[in-house]
């Protein structure tokens, strides 16, 4: 029952990227973890095999099997942080894959026996909703910040770097490049803007990165949904580049957070002693994310930008691009510049220490790939021959980048680099709390804020209470239970006159 891996070039490059990203994470895991690291590596290898199956197979049942396996293995990875996260993540993802199971079976029963192009928009939409939870589509993204805030960067790197992209890779196989999908397109625009704004206002580093992931996923969704070849290949390119960049980003940030002991971006600068190479790396990653010219992110953004139909959407897109610049510049500012003293930053530049495992094996390869792909996008021609037909105007890109940077700098200077108050709770907690307070309006009006408590309290206790009520309603005295028998007999005997 081995999955049939098609020799589709797209599938190949995706699998190669996935393996690369996962290997980088394994290197970091080997260095970072103290307990049971061999188990983690084994788990990661199972995860690796299962996502290869998910990407490569053309049988729906194998695809779904692999998908569930990805769910299982990634949730077990949270065990190195906290067992409660395993429980929560698994519940959310299993609910998501239940919808996916339903969607896939509807699709099969409409005559699409194999994973491939689906012509009906309705079925595409069903699949999109099915994939939504794992791919953090707008409306289903609620778990992303909540889970990332409490887990380590290692699992975040795997999740944000590759797992959330699996859904989009499937959509690449399903949606026709020339037609696109409106639902995906508009969801993407919403994600781009929403994620950008949230990231700009966020204080916690991990949550900021989670929202940044959301906005970048929005770009991918726009590309796939736009219905042009430009957008399609832009999305493919962006999946590859974002996977690499985010993995590297999360690994480095995790290193920083572990050493400094805080997630608050305003405090990081004071507590962490950056080396020169680390600064270069982080600058490289952030600029690639925001799409500075000569870095790989620029190319994919350029392609996606070219796919947009009207001027209005173009303006929105530019706004989204600006937001990306805003939040990355702000992040860089607060990461390195302690309480607005630029001089301190310059003093640090003579720390030439190199952290071998992270810098040598993870950062340098990623930086190299970003640079190479940024300047020679035709390197991928073997897998994506269509890239040859696009020309990337690096010259005009310089102007654009400078303009972006300038505007972003001015805005941020005006806004005093967006110094917001740290929110103690995520919006999902606030939402749950509001519902809980609404439900318990009489009696205890103010409940203590705590993600754990709220999930346990609202979800679990609510469900048990409800089922307990149902149980007590149905289970009455023994004689009541027995009297169902004559009732039912009478119903069946009179059936002929009832129907």
């Amino acid at each position: 029952m081995l999955p049939a891996v098609t020799d589709n070039n797209l599938v190949q490059i995706m699998i190669i990227t996935g393996i690369l990203v996962t290997l980088l994470t394994i290197i970091y895991a080997w260095k970072k973890l103290k307990k049971n690291k061999i188990y983690f590596v084994m788990l990661t290898i199972i995860y690796l095999v299962s996502f290869i199956i998910v990407i490569g197979t053309d049988k729906w049942i194998v695809f779904l099997g692999g998908w569930e396996f990805v769910t299982l293995t990634t949730s077990l990875m949270f065990a190195w942080d906290d067992w409660k996260l395993v429980k929560q993540y698994f519940l959310i993802q299993f609910a998501g894959s239940s919808i996916l199971l339903y969607a896939v079976l509807v699709i099969i029963n409409n005559g699409y026996a194999e994973v491939g192009i689906i012509n009906s928009t309705f079925l595409q939409n069903i699949l999109i909703v099915g994939l939504a939870t794992k791919s953090a589509l707008f409306g289903f993204h609620f778990w992303l910040p909540a889970i990332y805030a409490n887990s380590s960067g290692l699992v975040n790197a795997i999740s944000s770097g590759w797992v959330v992209k699996l859904g989009y890779i499937i959509l690449l196989k399903v949606i026709i490049p020339e037609q696109g999908n409106a639902l995906l397109f508009y969801a993407g625009i919403l994600m781009l803007i929403y994620g950008g704004v949230k990231a700009l206002l966020e204080v916690k580093l991990k949550v900021l990165m989670a929202y940044s992931t959301l906005s970048q996923l929005g770009l991918i969704a726009i590309g796939i949904g736009s219905g042009t070849v430009y957008g399609y290949y832009g999305a493919v390119l962006h999946i590859i580049i974002h996977a690499l960049t985010k993995t590297g980003f999360f690994i480095n940030l995790d290193d920083i957070i572990n050493k400094s002991g805080t997630q608050n971006i305003y405090e990081l600068a004071a507590r962490f002693n950056y080396s020169l190479f680390k600064i270069i790396t982080i600058f490289g990653f952030s600029f690639s994310l925001s799409g500075v010219v000569f870095l790989a992110g620029f190319n994919s953004k350029y392609l996606i930008k070219n796919s947009l139909p009207g001027p209005l959407l173009l303006i929105i897109f530019y706004l989204g691009g600006l937001l990306t610049f805003l939040y990355t510049l702000r992040l860089l500012y607060w990461l390195f510049i302690f309480q607005g003293k630029q001089k301190a930053f310059l003093l640090r530049l003579n720390n030439y220490k190199i952290n071998f495992s992270i810098d040598l094996f993870i950062n340098i390869p990623i930086l190299l790939i970003i640079l190479l792909l940024g300047n020679y996008p035709d390197l991928l021609n073997y897998w994506l021959p269509a890239l040859d037909s696009f020309s990337f105007p690096l010259g005009s890109g310089i102007g654009e980048t400078i303009l972006y940077l300038l505007v972003a700098y001015l805005i941020l200077e005006k806004l005093n680099w967006v110094r917001t108050k740290e929110k103690e709770y995520l919006e999902i907690d606030v939402l749950f709390n509001k519902i809980e307070v609404l439900l318990n309006k009489i009696g205890k009006a103010s409940l203590k804020f705590d993600t754990e408590k709220i999930v346990e309290h609202y979800f679990l206790r609510g469900i048990y209470k409800l089922s307990g009520k149902t149980h007590d309603f149905i289970y009455r005295s023994f004689s009541d239970q027995l009297s169902w028998i004559p009732l039912f007999l009478a119903l069946l005997l009179a059936w002929r006159y009832l129907v």
Binding site: G66, K87, F94, Y102, N109, H471, W484, W495
Partner: protein
């Protein structure tokens, strides 16, 4: 083809059952060997049947029969084994063999009575599956009730005795309805042979047909434990020793399902259920029952009760998917019968092991169990993963085909119930798993309490046997998950028989 081996399937357990008290007079230690020999013989007969008639099975003409006393149909009682019965019969031999081995390590007291009743149940189950005579079927059903009730009360405490009384009340009423149904069939047709009844059922007057159908329905729905009649099930299945819970919940319910299938697809044609519009009503009833089962399982704080409620959920699901009367439906249903048998039996057996280390079945006492018994608890988790439909376990594939069957005929309610069921299963299993991994700190008074309240019989006679059986079941769900296509051949043959009952009639009556 006439073969005495199917008679042996019934006779051997009965012989073993009645030999046990005699052997006890001589030497009580020999009992365990006799029991194992009985199980081995039973399973080897099943294997013999499969191997020697495999070519028939492949050619699609597998059919064994035996005439008791040499009286051919329609006069005497005849035993019949077709592909559907083959699946069920060999599954039962297989499951019961392992439960017997488990019991040797698990049941430490009153073993003699236990095994006598156990083998009587085995014989009655094989009989109920293999018989081709309506009244004989009734006798076997009553035998199942009478022999399983004392085992439900086996623990001899208040809870167990109440459970047995409740079980008996429902069982006797169900059996009585079944008796009335058999008598009505006899009065209207004049025969008790299933094939002949099937041939002539259409000739009965319309009103009488409906009456017969509804009376049989009540009798069987009580036995299967579908929603308005499920009240006995969780209590009975949670009160008995775990090895017996595995038997009742994992195996016996499937026997009643088989009787339901045999009755409503072969004896009374399914077209009559369609004619009276009962079929779609029953589908919804079974689905509602399934939903209720899963919802009730959410609140159960007794782990065995939770598992029993989950059984209600799964059995309702299987019944509903059968009642769709489509090929995919039969395939999904039969596959899920196999997978649920393996999973639920394994779950109850592993729970039985874990509960030996706790004070009671309550969830609060379950804390820390996962740290004490690491291997078994991991097995328990794998079994629950299969239960909620995770690959590569067999539960995933059977769930897939069941939802497929519902969606193929655009029955969205059914598909949603199945999905919701597995979703709620995540909740109720996770609750126990999280509890099992909870760290416990014992204070001095707790420790005292722990020592004094420990069940006296928590010592296993052969702990190795118990754990081995559990690991075998865990291994089975993984193995069958990878190779569920192995069942393709008997399942497809069985489906052919269900779709074309005329074949069965012809083979028995020699048409």
């Amino acid at each position: 083809m006439i073969s005495i081996s199917i008679l042996l399937l019934i006779i051997i357990p009965l012989v073993v059952a009645f030999l046990i008290p005699l052997l006890d007079l001589y030497n009580k230690l020999l009992r365990r060997y006799l029991v194992i020999i009985g199980g081995v013989i039973e399973i080897s007969i099943s294997i013999y049947i499969i191997i020697s008639y495999f070519s028939d099975l492949k050619a699609g003409k597998f059919f064994l029969t035996y005439y008791l006393g040499g009286w051919g149909p329609p006069f005497g009682i005849n035993l019949v084994m077709d592909s559907v019965s083959l699946i069920f019969s060999s599954l039962i031999s297989f499951a019961l063999f392992f439960i017997i081995i488990y019991s040797i390590g698990f049941i430490g007291h009153h073993e003699g009575k236990y095994y006598v009743l156990f083998f009587l149940i085995l014989g009655a189950m094989q009989g109920a599956i293999l018989t081709g005579d309506m009244f004989n079927l009734y006798v076997f059903i009553e035998l199942l009730t009478v022999t399983s009730a004392p085992l439900v009360a086996f623990k001899r405490n208040k809870h167990a005795t109440e459970a047995a009384i409740k079980y008996m009340f429902y069982g006797v009423i169900g059996g009585l309805f079944f008796f009335v149904g058999v008598i009505l069939l006899y009065f209207n047709i004049g025969s008790l042979n299933m094939a002949q009844l099937a041939q002539h059922f259409a000739e009965i007057e319309n009103n009488m047909q409906l009456t017969i159908i509804s009376i049989f329905l009540i009798g069987l729905l009580i036995k299967i434990g579908i929603f308005p009649f499920h009240f006995w099930l969780p209590k009975a299945h949670s009160a008995c020793p775990s090895s017996l819970s595995a038997l009742l919940s994992g195996v016996l319910l499937k026997v009643y399902l088989y009787i339901f299938i045999r009755l409503f697809w072969i004896v009374i044609g399914f077209e009559f259920l369609l004619e009276f519009n009962i079929a779609s009503f029953l589908v919804y009833l079974a689905l509602v029952s399934s939903l209720f089962g899963h919802v009730f399982a959410l609140q159960a704080s007794d782990i065995k009760r939770m598992l029993a409620f989950s059984s209600i959920g799964h059995i309702g699901m299987i019944l509903a998917v059968f009642l769709l009367n489509t090929e995919t439906g039969f395939y999904g249903g039969l596959l899920h019968i196999i997978s649920h048998l393996l999973m639920k039996t394994g779950l109850f057996l592993s729970t039985g092991y874990l509960l030996q280390y706790t004070k009671s079945n309550h969830i609060d006492d379950f804390a820390g169990v996962g740290h004490q018994n690491k291997g078994i608890f991991v097995g328990f988790i794998l079994l629950t993963l299969s239960m909620i439909g995770m690959p590569p376990f067999i539960g995933f594939f059977s769930k897939w085909y069941i939802i497929m069957a519902f969606l193929k005929i655009q029955h969205h309610f059914g598909a949603i119930v199945v999905v919701l069921g597995s979703l709620s299963a995540v909740f109720y299993y996770l609750r126990f798993i999280a509890k099992g991994y909870e760290k416990i700190k014992l204070s001095a008074s707790d420790l005292k309490n722990e020592i004094y309240n420990r069940p006296i019989l928590s010592v296993f006679y052969r702990e190795k046997l118990v754990t081995t059986v559990i690991y075998i079941f865990v291994g089975m769900i993984i193995l069958t998950g990878f190779s569920f296509r192995l069942f393709e051949l008997p399942l497809q043959e069985g489906i052919k028989e269900l779709i074309n009952p005329q074949n069965y009639i012809n083979l028995i009556l020699g048409g």
